[in-house]
Symmetry: C2
Subunit: 386 residues, 2 copies
């Protein structure tokens, strides 16, 4: 397999885009990524796009062809990939394989979702499609409810407190305030987080990621050609994916995401690095408890100590392991299909040293972790400065 | 890139499955394919599944994880791929690349759709998501209407008649009558076809493929390992995909599908064969006019002579170029996401010589052609006996 590099990375701002449609967002991120890579559309050989539920959000499937059309990239093959909220990460993985295999040289990978055109209850219903509809959502469980079960159990087993969860939100809002692409560019206090409205006990509104519109895009090339396009190529040193049961009740544990652990193990092996070598990570904090479990399952902290790590500032920008420098899903926003690609964009920018106020010093190796549903899919990528 | 072979192939019967759900169909096809390959689940390294609109048909996204779960294949990565009615073909292409790249050895590729749980107008609305919703479907065009425009123009330019289109339906029903997996296992007469109800003039009900439930599955392996699993591996000699504009009005021609022509050209080059070398083909006859255009665009017949070829029996089982031996989308049925994989199943069975009454004698090379929407995506595979 050939080595693969990111030669361009860009995103739209995340938020409520009332004056831009699904297509506008896609094109905006795509063109910005091509400009960042310094290449024109004719150089592109193929594309992948992650989107979770465009059929239900905007009535449109066949997003691959739509993007080829609206980006003026016909007749190249562009393929949509879906794995719920991990759709973006899976699209990146397909793009990686297409280049690694030698099938294609220059590949664009996009992620997009336009969620705010519908009301909250419709969105909640659609997001339910990421879980096990027949055993969970049709019976009344919502995603906050599923993660609340995990939070309760985590508290029970490890003494994780509401303050620890709130600390994740406070930290991610602090990072988001330094990111001009973030949906929420403002800090919140611990008190605000703790006194916010309960969504699914013990999760409050500030424990939950928002409903968001947005798109992100990276351009991939074989590493051996990457320096002819950019001075700062970022190698994708590993790409790994794993699965677990769709429904929560069938899992071995409620306090650990098995798919994350397996994907991480594979990724570390593929990249030849260990958890301690990772300088920063974008992890899937759809809820604050999800970030706490992620930093444990990825091996950054011992099981049960993820919440304490946040409370003690270990995952802050200037901590020992900066987590979600972009603001994460919590503050940067979570347009579901775009998130996995946005994580790759943030990692690329960090490793290039372009993150300004939120830059992690001397970052050389980064990791992104994208989860589908309540953990039935997890995908982990590791990036390296070359 | 490594060479890739199909070592197992199976499908459910296509039709109205009132007593089986989406999950049942997937598992049934998957287990049958594993049995056909003579392997157990532990040997599988990864999977891909094509489904067009499970979110709207059955309220469930995240189909990759669902299949890993219900097939007992956790924790391997399974990824859903979507390109409207070409979803199955695109899933096959991703599986092909995953094996070719060396990333995975044994890969399952499934296709599935459960369409009959909803009424016709809901299904029609959902299928609209394969075209350009904003410019076509929201304005009142249905898929039969779009293909009717192509049929009218084809008649105008090349003198294609309603009899010629009906001949496609009569031929495909004749083949379907010999296929125990087909939705319609009965022959129809030219008179029945011509006197059937008009759907979108000049297309009548017998010019249209039906609404169908079903699933299909193939198992892939590196060609070098294939003989250790089966006596009759079938090589996937080529896999090519191309795109065109999503909306019909933006095309250069209404009588030719450009994406088909480009994908076919690439596929012939990749396999080192010519159109005349193909012994049989499964082509995308979502409407009879679509088969007529396909046999022209694939280079089997000169432009404008596809209709005449059907009328003269050239595409019949005993003709010079047997087309849609399975019965095609028309008679075998069209569970949209499953169709591309079912085409691969039929080609495999034909090349293995297992098709009984509908067997094409001495078949050595086969081709499948799967189209998304009105032609915005096309994917062509070429299979060879080894």
């Amino acid at each position: 397999m050939r080595k693969v590099a990111i030669i361009g990375a860009a995103m739209t701002s995340f938020g409520e885009h009332w004056e831009e449609g699904f297509r506008d967002l896609v094109v905006k991120a795509g063109i910005a990524a091509l400009e960042d890579a310094g290449i024109s559309g004719e150089k592109i050989d193929a594309g992948y796009v992650g989107t979770m539920s465009s059929g239900r959000f905007v009535g449109q499937e066949h997003i691959g062809a739509l993007i080829a059309d609206y980006m003026g990239l016909n007749p190249i093959p562009i393929t949509r990939v879906e794995g719920a909220c991990a759709s973006g990460g899976l699209a990146l993985r397909q793009g990686f394989m297409a280049v690694a295999s030698g099938m294609h040289d220059i590949v664009v990978v996009g992620g997009v979702e336009k969620m705010t055109d519908l009301g909250v209850s419709a969105v909640s219903d659609i997001l339910g499609g990421a879980g096990d509809q027949e055993w969970e959502l049709f019976l009344g469980a919502t995603f906050p409810a599923l993660y609340a079960l995990m939070a309760r159990r985590h508290s029970e087993e490890y003494g994780t407190t509401e303050e620890m969860m709130a600390a994740v939100a406070v930290k991610n809002h602090k990072n988001g305030a330094k990111n001009k692409y973030a949906q929420f560019q403002r800090e919140i206090s611990m008190e605000q987080a703790l006194s916010s409205k309960v969504v699914a006990d013990p999760l409050k509104i500030f424990d939950c990621s928002p409903i968001t519109d947005g798109a992100a895009c990276v351009v991939l090339a074989p590493l051996e050609l990457a320096h002819s396009f950019t001075k700062k190529p970022i190698e994708i040193a590993a790409s790994a994916q794993a699965s677990d049961t769709l429904a929560l009740h069938a899992r071995e544990s409620l306090t650990s995401i098995k798919s994350t652990k397996i994907a991480a193990e594979k990724a570390y092996k593929m990249a030849g690095v260990k958890a301690e070598d990772i300088d920063l990570a974008e992890v899937h904090d759809c809820f604050t408890i999800a970030e706490i479990m992620a930093v444990e399952d990825l091996g950054f902290f011992k099981k049960g100590e993820g919440g304490k790590a946040a409370l003690e500032g270990k995952t802050a920008l200037d901590g020992e392991k900066p987590i979600n420098t972009s603001g994460g899903l919590k503050a940067c926003g979570h347009p579901v299909g775009a998130t996995g690609v946005k994580q790759a964009v943030e990692c690329t920018w960090q490793l290039r040293g372009e993150c300004g106020e939120r830059q992690v010093k001397n970052a050389e190796i980064a990791l992104s972790h994208n989860v589908g549903g309540s953990g039935a899919t997890a995908v982990v990528h590791i990036y390296r400065r070359v």
